[in-house]
Every structure is written in structure tokens, then in C-alpha cells.
């Protein structure tokens, strides 16, 4: 008799004790050290970094910057689920840190494709919060890695880059950039991409800060005859698409966890408002028109929780379904955050329109998150293609 027919404990959805502790730590850190007022301060003071360096240092000291990084490279190695729990808490307070750009997106690309030497040089610095790395990926207003045209001409075993990138998160404060260039094939080809590690002060590189509706960091990047030597290529020339896609899928799932945090926060605040706000002499939450919508939103959020939790756990299990699940998750959370932020604002009424109340900040963040790494339309089309229809 084999044991496979016996009842096996399943852990696709249930957190370990260790993970619960990590979540509690993150919750306490973000709610106490990086509340929404932190973002307001950065915005109103027009902080040139767009992040609070002290906060980022504290986050790194807690180990949050190195959650995806193995202990051998100075990380805390809590895995994708662990990072997801942290992102969910960061999403609740709109915490402006390089967590996503540096500790997730760049880290995942390096873990997927970097040489041992590159890993040893860079990952410990990321984990310590001492180095910020940004990824220069997008070239238009819509996420579309296959459409990359940033030219990477082959020269002396390396590449010479020419072209422009947009929507580069934390680009202007990054110490290094990972620039995704096309070194072969044509626009529209999935393959033929190369991943180039470039110092912020490299000759031929220009980074200029942009302002986004969510008050978070973004920048435009221009490369003019920017020389990338062979040892600065991550992985091998022309073969960057596959590791990039793997990294993007995990990042999409982690971004969805951040979105879930924002969705939860908006819903909880709105629910409280429905109980507190009185009109016609009664709490507005007693009106069926609002109760039904609140209940429908609750149902949607329960579904989102299941989808995100499952995608995170399957990432840790290295499931071969990650691409599909990433698209399922990112599409669902994009749609849910649009619904919940819109309804949250409507239910707050006039006060929701004021800058003093946070609801609007969550809505602005939600729309940037929706576009980041693919909007629901992109991911529905991708999900269908991956499923063969």
C-alpha cells in the first residue's frame, strides 16, 4: 500500500507559524513606521529621493529587503509567500520603498539569470538595503516585453545600447539599472532579448525623474551608445526573455499581493465609514443599496485572497503553472482594485473627493499598479493563449 491515497495535509492556503510571525512583523513595521502620512510627507515636501531613506534602512535591518534572497547571499530567504505577506502589508499603507523595484523585480531577474560572481557581488548589497537596482523594461504606455526595440548591437562580446525606456520604477535613485534590450530579432518577437547591468553613472546613460499620479517614483531612461561589457550581461546575450518572463511572473504575483493589501485597506475603511456616517438619522450602512454592494465586494475580496494565496504558494513550490496563475492573479486583482477603489470613493461621498482623506491616494495607486506589468486585458489574452484558446 502506498501512502499517496492517504489523507495528506495540504498547505496551499494555510500559513506556517514562521510566515504568520513575518506578517505580524511587517504589519507592525509598516503601520507604525511607514503609515500613509509618510507618503503624504514625501509628496508634499517634494522629497528629491521620493523615498524615506531612514525607513528603507530600517526595513533592511528587519530583513525585509532580502526576503527573496538565499541566506548564502545575505538574505532572509522567506520565499515568495513570505515576500507576498510583506507586500500585502506595504500595500495597506502605500509604503513608498524600493521593495518592488530592487528587492523583487531586480532580485528575481538576478536569481534567474545572473552568474555566481554577479550574485555574490550584488545580492548581499540589495539585502542590506545598501544598493538599489531598477529595471528599465517598458517603452510605451502599455506593458509589452515582446515589443521591446531598445537596440543592443553586439560588440566585443558585449552590447552597445541605443534607445529609450519609460516608467522605470525608482530609476532616478538606483545605483544600477537592469536594462532590457533587443539584441536580435524584431519588435514583436518573444525572444532575442538581453539583460544588461549598467551603473547609474555610465557614459551614455541619462535618467530623468517623472512624476506619477500615485506620487511614487518613476523615470525616463535614455541610452546613447551606452557600452555594456560582456561581464555586465546577466545570463547570455539573446537569451534574456525566458529568465525575464519567469521573474516577471513571480513579480506579477507579488505585485498582486500588494494590490490585495490596498484593496483590503480600502474596504475596511469604507466599511467603517458605512457604520459611522449618518444620513437621514441612520448609519448609511443600513441602506440596502449600499449593503448589497458591500457584500458583493466582500465576496470578490474573498476570491482575490484565495487566488493570491494560491499563486504565492505555487511559486514557492516551483509549479509549472506559474505563468497561467500570474495572469489569473494580476488580471483579477487589477479588476478588483478598480472596483473597490471606485466603490470606496463613491461610498465616502463628497469627503472621498478631498485630498485630506486617503481613499483618493489608494485609487491613484491602484491605477498605477493596474498598468504595472500588464493590465487585465493583457493578462486575459495571455491566460487564454497559455490555455490554448
Amino acid at each position: 500500500m502506498t501512502s499517496e491515497n492517504l489523507v495528506q495535509p495540504k498547505t496551499d492556503f494555510i500559513l506556517s507559524e514562521e510566515q504568520t510571525m513575518l506578517r505580524d512583523t511587517a504589519k507592525q513595521f509598516f503601520s507604525e513606521q511607514v503609515p500613509v502620512s509618510n507618503l503624504r510627507k514625501l509628496r508634499d515636501e517634494e522629497n528629491p529621493d521620493g523615498i524615506d531613506r531612514d525607513v528603507w534602512k530600517q526595513a533592511a535591518e528587519l530583513g525585509l529587503a532580502g526576503i527573496l534572497i538565499p541566506e548564502a547571499y545575505g538574505g532572509t530567504d522567506f520565499g515568495v509567500t513570505g515576500m507576498g505577506l510583506v507586500m500585502e502589508e506595504a500595500g495597506r499603507t502605500l509604503a513608498a520603498t524600493p521593495l518592488f523595484s530592487s528587492s523583487i523585480l531586480s532580485t528575481l531577474i538576478l536569481l534567474e539569470a545572473a552568474s555566481e560572481e554577479q550574485k555574490q557581488e550584488i545580492l548581499p548589497a540589495i539585502a542590506a538595503g545598501e544598493m538599489i537596482i531598477a529595471v528599465a523594461l517598458e517603452e510605451s504606455g502599455h506593458h509589452n516585453p515582446a515589443a521591446i526595440t531598445m537596440s543592443g548591437a553586439k560588440k566585443d562580446g558585449g552590447l552597445v545600447l541605443n534607445g529609450r525606456k519609460t516608467f522605470v520604477l525608482d530609476g532616478h535613485i538606483a545605483d544600477k539599472l537592469i536594462i532590457v534590450a533587443r539584441s536580435s530579432g524584431e519588435k514583436g518577437d518573444t525572444n532575442g532579448l538581453s539583460l544588461c547591468l549598467v551603473d547609474a553613472d555610465a557614459t551614455g546613460l541619462k535618467v530623468s525623474r517623472s512624476k506619477m499620479v500615485d506620487s511614487r517614483n518613476s523615470s525616463e531612461v535614455t541610452c546613447e551608445n551606452l557600452a555594456v561589457s560582456a561581464d555586465m550581461i546577466i545570463g547570455t546575450i539573446d537569451d534574456g526573455a525566458a529568465p525575464l518572463e519567469n521573474a516577471l511572473d513571480q513579480a506579477r504575483i507579488l505585485l498582486s499581493a500588494e494590490i490585495l493589501g490596498g484593496v483590503n485597506e480600502v474596504f475596511e475603511r469604507t466599511l467603517q465609514y458605512l457604520k459611522d456616517r449618518k444620513q437621514f438619522g441612520v448609519p448609511i450602512g443600513s441602506f440596502q443599496a449600499l449593503r448589497h454592494r458591500a457584500s458583493a465586494i466582500f465576496s470578490e475580496i474573498e476570491i482575490c485572497k484565495a487566488v493570491v494565496t494560491f499563486a504565492l504558494s505555487q511559486s514557492d513550490k516551483k509549479s509549472n503553472q506559474i505563468a497561467r496563475l500570474a495572469s489569473l492573479t494580476k488580471a483579477r486583482l487589477g479588476e478588483a482594485s478598480t472596483l473597490v477603489s471606485n466603490e470606496g470613493l463613491q461610498m465616502h461621498g463628497g469627503i472621498g473627493m478631498t485630498d485630506d482623506v486617503d481613499i483618493g491616494l489608494f485609487m491613484k495607486r491602484a491605477r498605477v499598479q493596474l498598468q504595472l506589468l500588464g493590465d487585465p486585458g493583457f493578462h486575459r489574452a495571455r491566460y487564454a493563449r497559455l490555455n490554448g484558446y
Binding site: L6, V7, K10, T11, H292, S295, G377, A384, N387
Partner: protein, 399 residues
Amino acid sequence: MSDLETFREETRAWLEENCPASMRTPMPDEEQPWGGRNPSYPNPDTKIWMERMAARGWTAPTWPTEYGGGGLNKDENKVLQQELKRIEARPCLNSFGIWMLGPALLEFATEEQKLKYLPPITRGEIRWCQGYSEPGSGSDLAGLQTKAEDMGDHYLVNGQKVWTSYADKADWIFCLVRTDTSVKHEGISFLLIDMETEGVDPRPIKLISGSSPFCETFLTDVKVPKENLVGELNKGWTIAKRLLEHERAMISGMNMGAGEASLGGMEELAKEVFGELDGMIAHPTLRDTVTKHKMDEEAFNLTLRRTGELAKAGHGIGAEASIFKYYGSEMNKRRFEILLELLGTDALTTEGEGHDQDVMDISPQWLRSKGNSIEGGTTEVQLNIIAKRVLDLPEGGQA
């Protein structure tokens, strides 16, 4: 070897020997095993399979053996279900008695009542139906008016029930009746009535989707022995609520995934109808519609799995389950709307030369799906339950 492994081995061997080969094949609708006083067995194996399982108590595996059950604990029952699934065995007995009434009797009935009613249920000898809704009380179930008057040695029941599934085929009915007209919820009692009693008259209801198992049941001067009252007088609402939970759990799991099954998946159907372009459904907007729905289904299934895992780990679920009834039934309605859109007038054809029966079978299912968000508590009632019990929103607003 652990006790559970031994149990699995024994169960497997017993099923191998006792489950007839034809009971391991897909079941045509007319071979559904409903049992009852006037059973229908177009396939004699259906009867053999039911009787063998009943003799072991496995028509109601977790009920106590003294009431005809199998006395299995949760883990053993799980093994049994796994082994049944392994050989793709058909259900041995469909029974509202097992699914709905039995659990309520086990909780609320007297010892005498349990011994009288439960064993015939497990043996498939008595088929039950449920008399809850009335023409004047649907969502407001507690407003029911069917009256049971205390006549000393019996109750005299007068009124009308509606949506009594299979009342025309059932042997007994469990009913909610009004025993006190001065109060609402506290004036309801739970009564068991033999359908052969004089004055009980079930009539089938024809739906927009065609013939249906639903009936309206007229009760005119029906004399019911007083010992047929379950639980205390005027405490029937407590039992009713418990039973409704069982019913909702049943409905949210029903019908899902049927429909296009015989036609291949919705996505295959779309490719067939509109053709393929680079492996994609060639109709771009319908491709997106189909994709949205497939994503909804996958996400909803994950939600069911998550809740299952949480429940197993000891996190309660309770009223959160209302989201399954709400979301599941709305999703099922959307599914049939998409199938109609995919198939166009072919799905709206009910008879015609050269038309595929599987396609023509879609429209009655589409019409029937409209009832999913009405039966067992409407979508609006489910949303009210979530607002009240989960979100703890205040009540009473009229504007």
C-alpha cells in the same frame, strides 16, 4: 498498518466485490436511485447496489449504526468516498432524507422518532420531500401561513406549499407549519406528514424550462398525529434554519460544470463555431468573454479549496459560505448566457432538421439556471446575510 489503512484495504476489497459493473459507468438520468415506496429501477443493478450499501450502513456512512448508518468517523468516511470515487461508482441512493431531514432529526428528534424515521431512510424505503415555501412566503419564509391547529389528539393542517421538489413522487413531507398566529418566527413548528394521508394533493409545476421536479402541494384538512411534531412546539424555525444551511451547501455545488460538458468545453465550442486564428478563438470579443468566464471559474474553485482547507484546519466558516451560493449561482447564469451567445440561433432552436440534440438541450438548461439565484435564498437574501452576519452592518435604513 494503521487502522485507517486496514479500513481502506477492506473497503476496497468489499467495493470490488459488491459494486456491480454497470454501477461504475456514467449514469443516465432515468437511472437516478431515488428509492421510495414506488421505486423505479430500469437497471436492476441500481437496486442491488443500493441494498448492498444500505446493509453496510453506507448509504449514510456517518450516521450511528443504531439508526441504519455506517457509524464511520470523518476520516473513515473520507476513505470510503475516495474509494468510491476511485472506481467511479455511481451514488447508491439520492435522498433528501439523508441530505437534509436526517441531520435535523439526529439533532432535534426524540429517540423514538429517530428509530422510526431514520432506518427506512437509509434503506431507501421512504422518499422525503420538503414543504417550506408558500405562494405568499418566498424570501420571507418565516411569514408562512399553512396552519396546524391543535385538535386534541391530532393537528389539523390547512394551507399550500410550493416548490416542493418531487412531491408527486415522495412518500413523506417535512413541513414548516404555523402553530401560533400571534408571533412570527416563534410561531412555527416542524411537522412530518405522510403523503398518503387524505387531503394531501401534490401537483407538478411547469417551468419556463419545461417540466420540472417542482410541485405545489395542497394541504386540505389533513389530520396529522401529534407525535409527528419534531422538536418543541413553536421552535421549528431553529430546525428550519439548520436545514437551509444544508440546502444552500447542496445548491452551490449543483449544476456547475454541466451544460456544455457533452459539447466539449466552452473554449472548444467557441473554436468550433468561430474558427481558430493562430490557435486562438477567432472571434476577439467572444474570446475575451470566454476567457473572463474561465478565469472566474478557476478563481472560484480556488476559493472553495481555500475555504475547505481553512475549515479542515479548524478555522470556522459560517456565514462566509453565503458567498458561494451568491457567486456560484450568478456565475452559472453567466455561463449559460455565454453558451447561448456562442451558439446563436442553434441554441434557441428546440426542434429542427439537422440540429444537434446536445445543442438544443442548452436552452432548457439556460432557462433553468435563472432559478439558481432564486432557490434556496435569492441572491439578494444572500447579500443581506453577508451584510448582517459577516460585515456586521447596521440594519433598519429605509431610504
